[in-house]
Amino acid sequence: QIKNSNEVNIYSQRHYEVDKIQYKNFEKLTGIKVNVIKAGADELLERLINEGKNSPADLFVTVDAGKLQKGVGVGVFQKIDNNIINSNVSNDLKDLNGYWIPITYRARLLVYSNDRVSKSDLSTYEDLANPKWRNRLLVRSSSNAYNQALMSSLYANLGKKAAIDWSTNVVANFARDPKGNDRDQVKAIAAGQGDIAIVNSYYIGLLLSSEKQSEVDAGKAVSIFFPNQGNNERGTHINISGFAMTKNAPNKENAIKLLEYLTGIEAQSTYVNNGYEYPANPNVLPSKIVQSWGGFKRDTLDLNALGFFRNEAIKVFDQTGWK
């Protein structure tokens, strides 16, 4: 394997425009060229596994801690232990085992119709099982990784039986069969098909800043609610975007440099200003729109649990008929 000191190779599940900007800035700063292949997390992991020690990849980045855990499980990553990086990111977002580095995170929260729901009706994820939401709840299909992560967190926090009961009742509350993406759930509220929905935080930002008036209207028709914020409650479910270093990374130093850069103040500001994610670096504030939603308490569950319990979560979905 020829080591090429001027490069760093990334397998990326993230394909946002902001990433391009970050890598360009990094290149300007250090002269290290960033090469990227973008595809689904599982496909990339599979490619890593099969390429084995011949893999050209240095870093793997995904938007789901569960996938990082999966990679750790099959042994394709190595630990990262670097002071700068460690000091850059919030402690509660870090991997306890030191395999992966979070760079941003997003919350899976509730949105509700401004007209038909009052904020006081909302409280926790668990409360979504309440029959008062019958035919009012909107959510996308269980094939979606964000829903799977949410269910994993519930499973980890509450246990199997509670998860099944919850899912059963939630399915009973569905306003329609799951379909569409997160934006569509918000639009459906606007259309009056349902009253509350489970969505990712940054989609609201995207809707509100859309070029289309109709989408902005839809975004304005709903409000955001962070569940499980009460005193003895665990906080809102979050998930991270994070990097891991491959076991045989050919350009390890460059990779470390990149991670140092990406968790630093400058790059973290770039992330938040070009999207609606929350920064992993506690010293950086989210974007204006995101700030306007207010702060919230994060679920402090070990994010690896999102991977550990993924299988069980799927079974819960299937068993309870969440399509």
């Binding site: 394997q1 990227v36 997390a41 496909e43 329609r176 993406n181 569509d184 606007a190 209207d217």
Partner: protein
């Protein structure tokens, strides 16, 4: 791949116990709906275009191929947008999911049927139609009793492509929340981390398809048609006023629903983001797309021609079986093909990976093309096959008797006569690869983006407008190529419409 097939996988048992039935029922239903509408949208216009002369016939003919260039997930997004509350009609009604999905899928898939039907209908000479008329069959009876039975193998091969596409469909199906077999495959792979189960599921799929395939062939082989010499041209008639109206309606329905609406939707989106388009990037993506598609589709054209021509002229059955076998690649989900290729190649030669970036670029480019060949040979074969089988055996008997080598027979007889189908095959494969997704995502070299990947990246982040310029570019390039080849063909084709 093979090894993992024998792994004991818990989740497979789990899947079979809990979901397989649901998956199968959904899949079957979706396949039925899509097939029905694809046949309807493909055959009927092809029949009119092949038989009647009317204004705008050539333009309509051209446009009828183009919906193939619109990826199914774009089609799905477009229609769900149109039919949603935030769409122009502010529709509050929640449409049936699976039925609507089936129809929408048929919008992008019917060109497979249209293209083979066109070839088939314009190839068997007017003699059969004359006899049918003389024996008292009216237009519709002729269609059902003569034209369709004679085109059955051709249409079946188009239908095969449609069915395979539905079986492999992921984006649109997931978006519509319909749990099909492929969703099951990805679920067990992506979510349950069980590659073994995924492979077993797709093997089951493969076996079912292969089984259906061989059943059809088995019944079919007794009826291997041998067309009589079809030197009679199939003349175009002027339709009567009443029929003309119907013809326009029938041709315009797919054009409006499957092409105009999505393309207008697309163009509106393009305008809304036009200032932010990075033209340099657009051109480099276009160049990448073109280089992949042209390379792969040319190779596929050559290979499928080679195998089919050999089947045609050799009286042994070997090529027949080879051809059946290589078509099966189309029934394997693209992602599985891609991974299989990686596994296979890494096992063969580690040298592949021990080179620098440019080397690995070339190697991955080759791997990519290789995967495309495995997957899309069936698409290339379908039109060629339906054309070759219309040629009576007496052509190659005569040619052999006149001393032509097999290659020359191809060059001087079969190529000129079947030219139209070769170009159709090229177009179909080209378009398919232009918009292809899972394989290019996994197998592409570093920093290699194409129009399709860029479209997908925006689309998957629910930023359809931003993706529109790239999907528009795909359609645009396909149209240009289509117009170019069609003109070229029509100039040089003297003996057939």
């Amino acid at each position: 791949m093979v090894n993992s097939f024998f792994l004991d996988t818990n989740s497979l048992n789990y899947l079979i116990d809990n979901l397989l039935f649901d998956y199968s029922v959904n899949t079957l239903y979706l396949v039925l709906i899509t097939s029905f509408f694809s046949l309807l949208l493909g055959i009927v216009p092809a029949w009119f275009i092949s038989n009647y002369k009317f204004k705008f016939r050539r333009v309509i003919d051209l446009i009828l191929y183009l919906p193939l260039a619109i990826p199914t997930y774009i089609m799905a997004f477009t229609y769900s947008e149109l039919l949603s509350f935030t769409g122009p009609f502010k529709i509050k009604y929640d449409f049936l999911q699976i039925e609507v999905l089936g129809i929408i899928l048929s919008f992008s898939l019917y060109p497979y049927i249209y293209s083979v039907s066109r070839i088939s209908f314009s190839l068997f000479g007017s003699r059969y139609l004359e006899i049918a008329k003389n024996l008292g069959l009216n237009g519709f009876q002729t269609l059902f009793k003569i034209v369709l039975p004679l085109s059955r193998p051709a249409i079946f091969s188009g239908l095969f492509l449609v069915i395979m596409e539905v079986l492999n469909e992921y984006g649109a199906v997931k978006y519509f929340g319909v749990n099909t077999f492929t969703i099951g495959i990805f679920r067990s792979w992506n979510s349950m981390n069980d590659t073994g189960a995924a492979i077993q599921l797709s093997s089951i799929l493969l076996f079912i398809v292969a089984f259906l395939f061989f059943i059809e062939k088995y019944f079919h082989q007794f009826k291997r048609f041998s067309f009589s010499k079809n030197s009679k041209i199939n003349t175009l008639n002027f339709p009567r006023k009443r029929n003309l109206f119907m013809i326009y309606i029938v041709c315009l329905v797919p054009i409006i629903l499957a092409f105009l609406i999505p393309i207008i939707f697309n163009i509106i989106n393009v305008f809304s983001i036009f200032e932010s388009v990075d033209l340099d990037r657009l051109f480099s993506l276009t160049f990448n797309s073109l280089s992949v598609s042209l390379t792969a589709s040319s190779i596929i054209l050559i290979l499928s021609t080679y195998f089919l021509y050999n089947e045609k002229i050799s009286k042994s059955r070997i090529y027949f079986y080879i051809n059946q076998f290589i078509s099966l690649g189309y029934s394997i989900p693209g992602a599985v093909v891609a991974l299989a290729v990686i596994i296979y190649l890494t096992k063969i030669d580690e040298y592949f990976y021990s080179v620098n970036l440019i080397g690995s670029f070339i190697i991955y480019f080759i791997i990519l093309i290789y995967a495309y060949i495995i997957r899309f040979l069936a698409v290339g074969k379908s039109p060629i096959k339906s054309s070759l089988e219309k040629q009576p055996e007496s052509y190659d008997d005569s040619a052999k008797n006149l001393g032509l080598s097999n290659f020359k027979i191809f060059q001087k007889i079969y190529f000129p006569i079947n030219k139209y189908s070769f170009f159709t095959a090229l177009i179909l494969v080209f378009i398919d690869i232009m918009k292809e997704l899972p394989i290019i995502l996994i197998l592409r070299p570093f920093n290699f983006d194409t129009l399709a990947t860029q479209t997908y990246e925006f689309a998957v982040e629910e930023m359809i407008p931003l993706s529109s310029i790239y999907s528009f570019m795909i359609i645009f390039i396909c149209s240009i190529l289509l117009i170019f080849l069609k003109n070229f063909l029509e100039k040089s084709d003297v003996f057939r419409s």
